[in-house]
Symmetry: C2
Subunit: 424 residues, 2 copies
């Protein structure tokens, strides 16, 4: 049993048990001076100190939050955290003026990570993944989606998903696996696209489903990557095998991705930088959640952010995620994404926080399990070294997570630099 006391704020994100939109967020359930009790890895009670006190028994571990903020662990609903190598060389090329598209055309981009990931062993991928899992936890995230998509052969895609399974077992971070064999057309199939679609639908997907290696299937829908028809075929095959659906839609051009996600009643349509009003209305009508990824807009040097305000005004329960990947969004940090959302997309701090916790949890089918600090939910929460929840994104570029708990167990605690403390 664990009790957390002396919190400056507990931002519970509790309330209606469904994803939330704009005005509903004006009240985000801040308990000032709040406290909470955890038993058996689940939240037993959230309330004021006075309400909690009677539940604290003699063998209870009492955690003093030191007048800091407590938030639910962030839920990062779009990430590609298992890959080999980095693309720091392309980062330099882009600083020298090359565009992402030019780099891709000469064999860089996703294909360069595919080459390195194919060469890597399962152990190599797990080792690299642990480095990123550490960063993800350290920045306050406790649940992360993990897409395959850097293998593009049956064995290499399965290798990535097996690495995700091992990371789920061997680290405290909770992973939700997504099959993204349709991330790019592999070089060897460029002149015979239909064969790759067949490989995806008749070999890869059945194996992924049989080994229960993924909960969702995703596809990169873009005229020059997978067309609307190709994407539809892939996602329909996935659905028939029992997988949930997600879609990379309208990132580089307005290609009809949002409409396809609506037609298929996918769980999410992701990116949406070019989606217009008609696409937004289609998502709303079909109950599809938009997953916005401002980290990739930033890192590609663009300023064309998705239309978050129009989506909120149309009643969509927006999700924010990192898109963590080695090319277009090399950040594992949800707070960085919250900063981008408030400074460049006019989402309020409360809207952004909701988008990266409870709304994200619903988009991954875990709305009843994580994303808020509520009775009965898994006790995944983070003590941030701030007095006010808004500071977590306001002071950007620095890590605020002070202690991270998953299932009521402390998995990270930040040490202060000795020399600062000694003299303080």
């Amino acid at each position: 049993m664990l009790a957390v006391v002396n919190c400056s704020q507990v931002v519970t994100l509790g309330g209606a048990r469904r994803p939330r939109v704009g005005a509903e967020i004006s009240e985000i359930y801040i308990i000032e001076g709040g406290a909470r009790v955890v038993r058996g890895g689940r939240v037993e009670k959230v309330g004021t100190r006075v309400e909690i006190e009677p539940l604290i028994d003699s063998d209870c571990e009492v955690v003093d939050a030191g007048a800091r903020v407590v938030l639910p662990g962030f839920v990062d609903a779009h990430a590609h955290p298992v890959f080999a190598g980095t693309r720091a060389d392309e980062y330099e090329e882009r600083a020298r003026g090359a565009t992402y598209q030019e780099i891709a055309a000469r064999g860089g981009g996703i294909r360069s990570t595919v080459r390195r990931t194919r060469e890597a062993t399962l152990d190599d991928l797990v080792r690299a993944g642990k480095r990123y899992a550490e960063w993800i936890l350290r920045t306050g995230t406790t649940t992360v989606e993990a897409k395959s998509g850097y293998g593009l052969t049956t064995e290499d895609e399965l290798k990535i998903l097996r690495a995700v399974r091992r990371l789920n077992e061997e680290t405290p971070l909770q992973f939700v696996p997504t099959f993204l064999g349709a991330h790019d057309m592999p070089d060897e199939y460029r002149s015979r696209r239909e064969e790759y679609i067949k490989l995806l639908t008749e070999e890869m997907l059945p194996r992924v489903a049989a080994e229960r290696l993924a909960e969702y299937c995703d596809a990169f829908c873009e005229e020059r990557v997978f067309t609307l028809d190709e994407s539809r075929k892939i996602l329909e095959a996935a659905r028939s095998l029992g997988l949930g659906l997600r879609l990379h839609a309208d990132q580089l051009t307005l290609s009809g991705g949002a409409h396809l996600a609506a037609e298929l009643r996918a769980a999410t349509a992701d990116h949406l930088e070019h989606t217009d009003t008609s696409g937004i209305k289609a998502l709303k009508a079909a109950g599809v959640q938009p997953v916005l990824l401002p980290g990739s807009v930033y890192a590609l040097g663009s300023s064309r952010y998705p239309q978050a305000r129009e989506m909120i005004e149309n009643g969509l329960a927006v999700v924010l995620a990192t898109d963590f990947n080695p090319g277009s969004s090399p950040t594992p940090s949800v707070p960085m994404i919250l900063s981008l959302a408030s400074t460049h997309m006019k989402m309020t701090p409360a809207e952004s926080l909701t988008a990266a916790t409870i709304n994200a949890a619903y988009s991954l089918g875990r709305g009843n399990e994580v994303g808020s600090i509520e009775e009965g939910k898994r006790a995944d929460f983070v003590i941030h070294d701030c007095m006010d929840y808004r500071e977590v994104a306001y002071f950007f570029g620095v890590e605020h997570a002070h202690e991270v708990f998953v299932g009521g167990r402390r998995v990270f605690r930040r040490d202060r630099p000795a020399n600062i403390q000694d003299n303080g």
Copy 2:
């Protein structure tokens, strides 16, 4: 005595003992598998392992860098790290659509921090400053400029500079103090501007100089803040008292600030978002270094970054700095600034690193002391948890500093989350 071995790269920034421009940076002196020896807080020798080995004696502490990158400590040449309170409320107001100027017009902005800083005691400011000093060190900076400017009365400005002096004594971070009494026109002098200029030049500056509380004097030159004539008067008075000169120039409008900095042969002209070609040429002719502050462009939601490439092409030794402050740039992180410079200002990783180390050191009159890892210089260096120096900014929003050394003494070491390590 200390030896650092098993580095993947030692990026020394050594070479010509002067600030550096564009093409000169193509060679940034990377020693692969490098090692180094420190004695008496100074760098004794930098070289390959074979060159270093004979210098390692029996009582030498050997630091294994674990195949990580070693960089000089960053030098942050423009920062306002001593203030009371935060402005997270204004961060929310701006997300809701208010502009920085609107917030300032209704008593927010700098004036709101001034009110809180006036109410704070010296101890309050030192306590808050230590929190930020920790962040600054943790993100890999070992020398930081610290401006006053949130007091705007003689006693409150002196209080801030005394807090800087105490932070310099009580933390391992090295501070360079700058007097910025001309940061804003205080409310009580709005109808009698000349009296405030007189207070600055005849009372504040002489006291600051007499108590040796600052090395530099700065002014916020902008038509609606301090005019060209007012700024000139203030800086001339400062110069006659032996202070070096810096200037907030052309941030919000093209007001002639760059030309004034050139006329006065200031050490630096800072911001320069609106500076044109004529201003750039004037800075070059006068030997003034530009200090670029993309953090404030980003945090204000703008995309009008200063013309770094044109400055480099005109032969200027560009400096990059955080502008860390609670309003327009709430980031203490130099790596975040390097990311902005490469993704949004087309500075290469090598140019950006040079701008935030050796060039910054020269701009603060410390080019012979810090900013590079060279024989005889103070041993301020950082082991970053990366294989390649470019990763420090490429993977943005996460802290990479693994161990931080100031004067050869370890002042920070990051612990890995226990559960990740145990299972790894």
